[in-house]
């Protein structure tokens, strides 16, 4: 079982090496090797587990040396955060790092706890490792090409791309550690590691806006971590164990000492997954270069929160905590999709859609039944691949067009065909039937009805309508006729970016086609591990119907396309009341002069824009969370 320590430690090693290498070509080379080895490592782990029968394994019961390293790492993180807080004059924030570290130190040294397993490899962690390893490696491959392009036309930003890529590796190592840990202190350390990494990545460009946004991300994530640290202390003090599985079991049994810690962990997961009221950090993180947005917001960091909530799901089902969490998740799903309608900045749309999808996953976890976890797991898988593809594509588009406004992507299919096709596939994967999101919505709707949860039902139903609106209008933009006939743009997307995106597009298509297999072989057994009940979420008949629909979606458009290619069509000019100038791009105005035709989408910024509804929604969500904690504290004390 060398694969597990390899996956956790090797990325840190690569990052360390990258810090000392200065030449960009060598940096790129090392990054490719590192990424491939990590992907291979994940593959080996997966194959090894499948051969070994996929039983959960627990390892590393005696860990004095590793514990010291981890504690040392926590001190390093605390010092780093304190130093940067003082450097940028935000002294209060460092308290959010110092106090929790002190609490954890107290747990480590003052509270007696037994020796339990520190690493657990079961199906859920396997799934997370696959997502992190595969999508993360593809993003690193992309990042090498992207960063050189980025610095070529952002000359004002100091070129620290070696440091940037090193941070990406540290991030991956921390994420592996996070999903494989079954000890609460290790979990906490890797949690803080990801918070600090995202802080450093967001602040990469060192502009005033970047610094502001990175500190916002830092304090929100540290705040969640601080609450978590308190919860861990409380649990360790009363239950004398630091085992994550004991934590879950205590919660499932309704143990009163587990109630508050579970609420704190769920709260921390909400901050990490940028749910209301903590969504603004994710939106602010868009100032960072694209690979960090892709890594943070699709493949890894935000999924950390969801991973924790999935672990907690059996302990949360039918409890106050679970209901409140599900409510906040559903509310975020609806409201974030409303705000996405009003956005024309592509990265902001992607960020808001991430928040929205995470809301749906959080709601699934909060309800905590096998059905909803099934739905949530597929949402997570599909979201990871398609969102990462979309972010990478938008990044490449920005490098080429020097704009990431959706309105500038009008007719992109005609002047940047490859990027437009990938974007189309990515967006289709997000919401179009019969792709992943759809089947998760089906299961989530049914689960909401089964649980008699009217609020969640309404959130999903209305949220589904708003979600399809903002995605559809983007898709429509891509295939429209361009505004100008004489658009010649040179596509500067590098080879490695194209390869990375291509692999992800193929992966997405494969996921759609193979998802029944994935369900039977992987997700259903995973649910059994978590809930100890078996049963299919989707009936056989429905699965066959889905496969049929998928086949139609893949077969019909190309078939009709080729059928019509041979048919001679009489092409006429678009109707413009008789004043079309002859090329569908301009017309004659009432003064007899030429006017360019310009068409844009609906945005409704003054009805559902961020400026209008973010603050009321944050207040409402905060109120719900305060109520949740009051109830939990009332029962506990």
């Amino acid at each position: 079982m060398i694969a597990v320590p390899f996956l956790i430690c090797f990325p840190f090693l690569v990052a360390f090496i990258l810090m000392f290498v200065k030449k960009p070509e060598v940096q790129g080379f090392i990054a490719y090797i590192g990424a491939s080895l990590i992907a291979a490592g994940v593959g080996a782990l997966a194959i090894g587990r499948v051969m070994g029968g996929m039983q959960p394994i627990r390892m590393f019961y005696e860990t004095k040396a590793a514990d010291s390293v981890i504690f040392g790492g926590e001190i390093v993180l605390m010092l780093l955060v304190t130093f940067l807080c003082f450097k940028y004059n935000r002294k209060a924030v460092c308290l959010l790092s110092v106090i929790p570290t002190a609490i954890i130190a107290a747990v480590e040294f003052a509270v007696p706890t037994g020796n339990t397993d520190h690493i657990c490899v079961d199906r859920l962690s396997m799934m997370m490792c696959l997502i992190i390893g595969v999508v993360g490696s593809l993003i690193i491959v992309y990042a090498v090409g992207y960063m050189s392009g980025y610095h070529m036309h952002h000359k004002e930003v100091k070129n620290r791309s070696g440091y940037f890529i090193a941070l990406l590796f540290i991030f991956m190592g921390a994420m592996f550690g996070f999903v494989l840990s079954s000890n609460l202190i290790w979990l906490y350390f890797f949690w803080e590691c990801t918070s600090v990494c995202s802080f450093l990545l967001i602040g990469y460009t060192r502009t005033e806006e970047a610094v502001n946004n990175s500190f916002r991300a830092l304090w929100m994530n540290l705040f969640g971590g601080a609450v978590l640290a308190f919860g861990i202390f409380y649990f360790a003090y009363y239950m004398h164990t630091l085992s994550f599985s004991e934590f879950i079991k205590a919660g499932m049994a309704g143990n009163v000492y587990a109630l508050l810690p579970i609420a704190t962990m769920a709260f921390a997961a909400l901050t990490k997954s940028a749910q209301l009221p903590f969504s603004t950090w994710l939106l602010g993180a868009m100032v960072a270069p694209t690979p960090s947005s892709a890594l943070l917001h699709s493949a890894t960091m935000v999924k950390a929160g969801i991973y924790v909530l999935f672990r907690l799901a059996p302990a949360m089902s039918n409890t106050t905590t679970g209901t409140m969490i599900a409510f906040v998740g559903g509310f975020t799903f609806l409201v974030a999709s409303l705000m996405a309608i009003a956005q024309s900045d592509a990265k902001k749309v992607l960020a808001l859609s991430t928040v929205s999808n995470l809301g749906l996953m959080v709601a699934c976890a909060g309800i905590g039944t096998p059905e909803t976890i099934w739905a949530g797991a597929f949402l997570m898988i599909f979201h990871a691949v398609s969102k990462s593809l979309l972010f990478l594509d938008v990044g490449a588009t920005e490098n080429t067009l020097h704009s990431r406004d959706i309105e500038d992507m009008h007719g992109m299919l005609y002047f940047l065909p490859m990027l437009a096709v990938f974007m189309f596939i990515g967006i289709a994967g997000m919401f179009l039937a019969p792709f992943g999101m759809l089947i998760s919505k089906w299961a989530a709707l049914r689960a909401a009805v089964d649980e008699k949860n009217i609020a969640l039902l309404l959130f999903i139903i209305f949220g589904s309508a708003t979600t399809s609106f903002y995605w559809s209008k983007w898709m429509g933009k891509l295939i429209s006729h361009p505004h100008s006939e004489h658009f010649s743009i040179k596509d500067v997307t590098r080879k490695n970016e194209t390869v990375s995106m291509g692999i992800q597009a193929v992966l997405m298509v494969l996921l759609c086609v193979l998802f029944p297999l994935l369900s039977k072989v992987f997700v259903d057994p995973m649910l059994y591990e978590m809930f100890h009940t078996s049963g299919r979420v989707l009936s056989q008949g429905l699965l066959y119907m889905l496969v049929l629909v998928i086949c139609f979606v893949f077969a019909v458009p190309p078939a009709t396309y080729y059928f019509n290619k041979k048919v001679h069509s009489n092409t006429k000019l678009a109707y413009m009341g008789g004043i079309n100038l002859g090329d569908n791009t301009s017309f004659v105005d009432s003064f007899g002069e030429e006017k360019r035709l310009w068409m844009s989408n609906y945005y409704f910024a003054n009805r559902v824009g961020i400026r209008k509804i973010m603050l009321p929604c944050q207040l409402f969500a905060a109120a719900v969370l305060i109520v949740m904690f009051c109830i939990v504290l009332g029962v506990t004390l």
Binding site: A433, L438, F462, F469, G541, M545, N564, V567, K572
Partner: protein, 288 residues
């Protein structure tokens, strides 16, 4: 299994005929309401066959294949419905079909077509909540999304779902693009913005669009009937009466109201879904 295949084949073959007849009845009754004689009953068939005989005319070459994909997915939706499959999945496939229609309008780059396409999206957002509520209502009452189970329940679903039914009939006006909700395209007037998504559909493409509308109408009437049918075979007779009544209601609403603003339509569609359907479902959740 054999019944399913027979139902699907019957749908594919007869739905355009029934749809066209419904269209003809619509025009005849509308004419009567407007004190006109109106066209012959079979006029829609004459129109479509004339359109099919014309050259293929389009503004963008992609229109043809997108509209034909739209038709195929609409037929798939209806086929899945009449084969007794999952109603929620039917609605999702219907939304995929609607996407192809939206693409067919956007790809032209024509101003009126694009305006119509934007408005079509607003129409979709307006009716989707009530449609999903209908599916959820069926699940709540009959314990399954399977249409074959719903159609063979003991009591007609409409008894438990009056609010949901009312909301669905309300958004039916939006779905069928009848005044006051003929916002993305209108059957009557022939002005630019009003013609919307069909502005740039000519000749054969318009024929494909019209035939698809017929398939869609038969499907929608089928959903109306689903509210009424139960295990008793006589319920199918009452379903036909209800369908004809609802269709007449749509014609009546069409002829007696003026076109509304699109955001009013959105507000009303959502309000109806929330209040009528939402309260119905909430009450059902509480008492079941």
């Amino acid at each position: 299994m054999r019944m399913k295949i027979i139902s699907v084949i019957l749908y594919i073959v007869f739905a355009p005929i029934i749809g066209g007849l419904l269209d003809g009845i619509d025009r005849k009754i509308s004419a009567g309401m407007q004190r006109r004689v109106g066209p012959p009953l079979l006029q829609p068939f004459y129109d479509v066959s004339k359109l099919l005989q014309k050259q293929v005319i389009s503004v963008a070459n992609a229109q043809s294949f997108l509209l034909q994909s739209y038709m195929v997915f609409m037929v798939l939706t209806g086929a899945m419905f009449f084969a007794g499959s999952d109603i929620l999945l039917c609605m999702f496939v219907l939304s995929t079909a609607a996407m192809f229609l939206y693409f067919a309008s956007t790809v032209t780059g024509s101003p009126y077509s694009t305006i119509g396409a934007n408005r079509e999206l607003i129409q979709m957002v307006s009716y989707e909540p009530a449609v999903l509520m209908a599916c959820v209502g069926f699940y709540l009452v009959d314990g399954s999304f399977e249409i074959s189970r719903i159609a063979s329940s003991q009591l007609s679903s409409i008894i438990y779902l009056p609010g949901v039914f009312a909301a669905f009939v309300f958004v039916l006006t939006i779905k069928m693009r009848k005044s006051p909700f003929d916002i993305s395209t209108s059957h009557h007037a022939h002005q630019e913005i009003v013609k919307g998504i069909t502005s740039e559909m000519g000749a054969r493409n318009l024929a494909v669009f019209t035939i698809t509308e017929w398939y869609e109408n038969v499907f929608l009437m089928g959903v109306i009937g689903l509210f009424v049918v139960n295990e008793n075979p006589y319920s199918y007779l009452s379903a036909v009466f209800v369908i004809l009544f609802v269709y007449f209601l749509e014609i009546l609403i069409d002829n007696t109201s003026a076109r509304m603003k699109q955001f009013k339509m959105l507000e009303m569609g959502w309000a109806v879904a929330l209040v009528l359907a939402g309260c119905n479902i909430w009450v059902l959740m509480l008492i079941k």
